[in-house]
Symmetry: C2
Subunit: 177 residues, 2 copies
DNA sequence: TAACCCATGTAACCTGTTACATGATTAA
DNA sequence: TTAATCATGTAACAGGTTACATGGGTTA
């Protein structure tokens, strides 16, 4: 039930529509969880059936009506229970590492080219996270009680991207030498 | 088709049985991909049907017979094609980051306790990878052409675990202050 | 004698992906 | 006028999880 928890967490942070959720899962929240709009709509229907969330229809001019979802107290309780249940470290699933594990069956240039492409992607993500960080958390010593939590997740975004970048560089060097 | 590629990559490294694969996906190869034995057996059946792998029945004394799977040339070709097709960075999916994102609805001690547990898990993984590294790659300057690839993936295992550890420490400090 | 390891499998279910579908509004 | 954005959905399929099942061998 992990997608449902991620949706509850996102709606707890800020009530929104399925469409908005899909965008958020493609941006900031998407750093640690992702889902397509189809998954999201299916899950929202289920969560509403189980009274974990409430929908409020918002009529709009010049664009389609939308349903804004909010956590019910039952939904918040579910989220709290899940957070309080200890979990093990989430497993990694990474295509690039699988490719490199079998990298000897292609040319070294193929792997180096792929590493260079990934390097660019990580650099872009890093810039995004750093921009968010300096915009929302310009002063680390002034964090609010609530802000601390988002700051911690953002920090790991920055840390991991920095880490992947350094590893790309190190690996490119090793394969080019 | 990502599980099938991970299986082809593992069998390319070393032919083995479904049971062995399950253990490997729970150990070294499991650092970058994981799968249950049920998934693996299902996928092996499919891969054999599509002539990507060959099975050789090995009779054993005092224990059940086993089927050792090896890549066919078609399977190697599939693996090579997949590696040569550029891919985007694999998305992260992490329960702990979702929990912390909504961390303000539980007590700070709950989150700190969870971080401390995860810290222990990352430390254990780090020790495992470092032991593998000093056993198989004691001298970085003496890497073989083939060894380089496994070394690169192992390096990222060590790097990422070190990173998660540092983040756990930083986050615990921030929440306890 | 109980629990665990070796080795393989079936069945049911849940989660995730891809393609298709609608229809108005807005920006290039 | 073409493409993109807003907003929601169905259908089919692939991938992943959990429970159940078998049966001999080994270790505590």
């Amino acid at each position: 039930m992990a997608l449902s928890h991620a949706i509850l967490a996102a709606l707890n942070d800020c009530p929104c529509s399925g469409y908005d959720l899909a965008k958020r899962f493609d941006g900031s929240v998407g750093f640690f969880w992702n889902a397509t709009h189809q998954q999201i709509y299916r899950e929202l229907t289920k969560l509403e059936e189980h009274s974990q969330i409430d929908a409020r229809l918002v009529e709009q001019e010049h664009r389609p009506d939308k349903k804004i979802y909010t956590l019910t107290s039952k939904g918040e309780e579910t989220l709290r229970n899940w957070i309080e249940t200890p979990s093990t470290v989430s497993p990694l699933k990474d295509d690039l590492l699988v490719k490199i594990f079998a990298g000897m069956i292609v040319s070294p240039q193929t792997i180096v080219a792929e590493l260079k492409q990934h390097r660019i992607q990580h650099l872009e993500s890093l810039h995004t996270y750093e921009a968010i960080s300096s915009h929302y958390f310009p002063d680390r010593s002034q964090l609010t009680d609530i802000g601390r939590y988002q700051y911690i997740t953002l920090r790991q975004g920055i840390r991991l991207e920095t880490e992947w970048l350094a590893w790309c560089d190190e690996s490119i060097d090793l394969l080019e030498s």
